[in-house]
């Protein structure tokens, strides 16, 4: 396949499908599933090309950088594109199966168009190298995400509202920073700016604005207040994509900018500050996850906590002892976390359907009424999230830890170890009560009758994502060399 065509299809396919699904609501499901199935071979072509020739740049319409918009394809972009496709496809399968259980609501016909707009926006975001183009894409992703959260109705509306205000303020701050950068250097392209940006007051002000905006959008401590209710109350399929990919997208932009135009300012205070925020997120998010009573809220707070680990890449890469190892660990963490988190939310959705609630004391035992596949998915995803070998989560934390030890950065190493224990703590809490109870009668709380049967595709979607999270660890060596071939440090 032509590489130019393949690159264009990555963003173009979901957007076209969204328009089709909007015009013909009946084909919405098929459009979403078809998009996912078609994107897999397209991405495979791009990955093979990156392995062969290394990272490359694609100028849209043949226009070059100062005026035209460029797309860059490298290891970071391709990893996140693959993650998006896997999670969105699994969640779409879950949602299609779930559709049989629900009755029609008046907003239902808008679900698939919004889903596909979100998907297309995310794909474009991971490709684009133009800061203003990224602003427009960020807004598109935010609007689709807000509408998808609000589609759950009820208490999700208030959560969607808070998310909306937070994310819009974030975009505006981001745009303010971009305006300052353009005023100073007359460029919007990330690689052009990397060459021109110097360490001066305006750049610092722009960096502060953009970072604040993206921290708000990425729900990074202490600006995470909107995430748990929004992700906890949305539909399970929506939560899966939001937690696995949408917050990662804001973090991805932080990476592009701090290892691009702002790279000169990173060593020293900014790197330490970003690391401190990450450490605080790991600990605070973890402790709050321990205190939650609802399964989906535990998983939502764990997103706050796990993204904190990824932020440690800034001080570790700036310490310059094993920067590549830190980058590889962070990339692996984003991948493994996304897969495991998507799986956990889908499995939580299955259990909530079966038992009528996702309260930790109301979810029944694994052996009752066919909820076993969902429980296996939770156990496998939890193993990866904690970091048990040979899962992807283990490899990610191991690489980060290696980098921290090589840099003799004991505090960061301590945070990684301590955070792992806390993660184990809250995930063990999810598994503890149901594992003790062996049948419905001996469940901790009187059961509410037998669990509802659900279509098998729902837990299996969760299970496949969990298996992918484990598999990413099994193929860690291959992934590591692929990261290196695709130009690791972005």
């Amino acid at each position: 396949m032509n590489i130019t065509l393949a690159t264009a299809l990555v963003a173009g396919l979901p957007l076209t499908a969204a328009a089709v699904a909007f015009a013909h609501p009946r084909v919405g499901r098929m459009a979403a599933l078809g998009t996912g199935l078609l994107l897999l071979p397209v991405l495979a072509v791009l990955v093979l090309e990156a392995l062969r020739t290394g990272p490359w740049r694609h100028n849209l319409g043949g226009w070059t950088a100062p005026l035209g918009i460029g797309w860059q394809v490298d290891a970071l972009a391709l990893t996140l594109l693959a993650l998006t496709t896997l999670v969105a496809l699994a969640a779409a399968v879950y949602r299609v199966a779930e559709g049989r259980l629900t009755r029609d609501s008046r907003y239902r016909r808008y679900f698939w168009p919004l889903w596909l707009f979100l998907w297309g926006g995310l794909n474009a975001l991971f490709l684009s190298a133009d800061l203003f183009n990224l602003y427009v894409i960020l807004e598109m992703v935010s609007l689709a995400a807000v509408a998808l959260i609000a589609a759950a109705g009820g208490p999700a509306l208030a959560a969607a509202w808070r998310y909306f205000l937070a994310t819009l303020l974030g975009s505006t701050l981001y745009l303010l920073g971009v305006a300052l950068l353009y005023g100073q250097y007359g460029a919007l392209d990330v690689s052009l700016l990397s060459g021109r940006a110097e360490e001066e007051l305006v750049t610092l002000a722009a960096a502060v604005m953009i970072t604040l905006g993206l921290l708000l959008k990425g729900a990074i401590f202490p600006l995470h207040f909107w995430l748990p209710p929004a992700h906890g109350r949305a539909h399970a399929a929506v939560s899966a994509v939001l937690s696995a990919v949408v917050v990662t997208a804001a973090f991805y932009l932080l990476l592009r900018l701090w290892f691009g135009p702002f790279a000169g300012m990173l060593p020293g205070l900014p790197a330490q500050l970003l690391g401190l925020l990450g450490a605080a997120a790991v600990l605070w998010g973890g402790v709050l996850a321990l205190l939650q009573r609802h399964l989906k809220m535990v998983i939502a707070y764990s997103t706050v906590s796990q993204l904190g680990f990824a932020l440690l890449v800034f001080p570790l890469a700036a310490a310059d002892a094993l920067p590549d190892q830190a980058h590889a660990g962070m990339l692996m963490l984003l991948l493994a976390h996304g897969l495991a988190k998507g799986s956990l939310f889908l499995a939580a959705g299955c259990l909530a359907w079966q038992w009528g609630s996702d309260h930790l004391r109301r979810i029944g035992p694994p052996m009752a009424g066919g909820s076993l596949p969902a429980w296996i998915a939770i156990a496998l995803a939890a193993a990866s999230l904690v970091g048990l070998p040979p899962s992807g989560g283990f490899v990610a934390k191991w690489w980060l830890l290696e980098s921290a030890l090589a840099a003799r950065a004991w505090p960061w190493a301590a945070v990684i170890v301590l955070g792992t224990f806390i993660t184990a703590g809250y995930l063990w809490r999810i598994l503890r009560d149901p594992l003790r109870a062996t049948s419905v009668d001996s469940a901790v709380v009187p059961a509410q009758g037998p669990p509802l049967p659900i279509p098998l595709a729902m837990p299996w979607a969760a299970l496949l994502l969990a298996l992918a999270a484990i598999a990413s660890g099994l193929f860690a060596t291959a992934l590591r060399s692929a990261f290196a071939a695709g130009g690791l440090a972005g």
Binding site: Y135, E139, L157, L175
Partner: protein, 100 residues
């Protein structure tokens, strides 16, 4: 030019103040609009500051206005649904009773 820059800063502060202090949902939406206007003003000032008038910030502002119209529309839609649920001033109670 300094005047317009100061004006942009003033709008920025007004917008942030409104967003964080006002309790009414409608005022929060307006505050966000004021905030984006401040950024647009900054962009237009930057366009004028260049030696030859720079058209790129103008294009950015135009695109930004389109984006803001869309976000405001979504904000208003969400606000109406939120107020319906709360039974607020959008006469949500009447509609609820009619539906049930």
């Amino acid at each position: 030019m300094t005047l317009y820059l100061l004006l942009a800063v003033a709008l920025l502060i007004i917008g942030l103040h409104g967003l964080f202090v006002c309790a009414q949902l409608m005022r929060k939406i307006l505050a966000l609009n004021v905030l984006t206007t401040a950024v647009f003003l900054l962009l237009v000032v930057l366009a004028q500051a260049a030696e030859v008038l720079d058209p790129v910030p103008h294009a950015m502002v135009l695109t930004g206005i389109v984006v803001t119209v869309s976000t405001t529309a979504v904000a208003l839609g969400l606000m109406v649904r939120l107020l319906e649920r709360r039974g607020g001033p959008v006469s949500g109670r009447d509609r609820d009773s009619r539906n049930s």
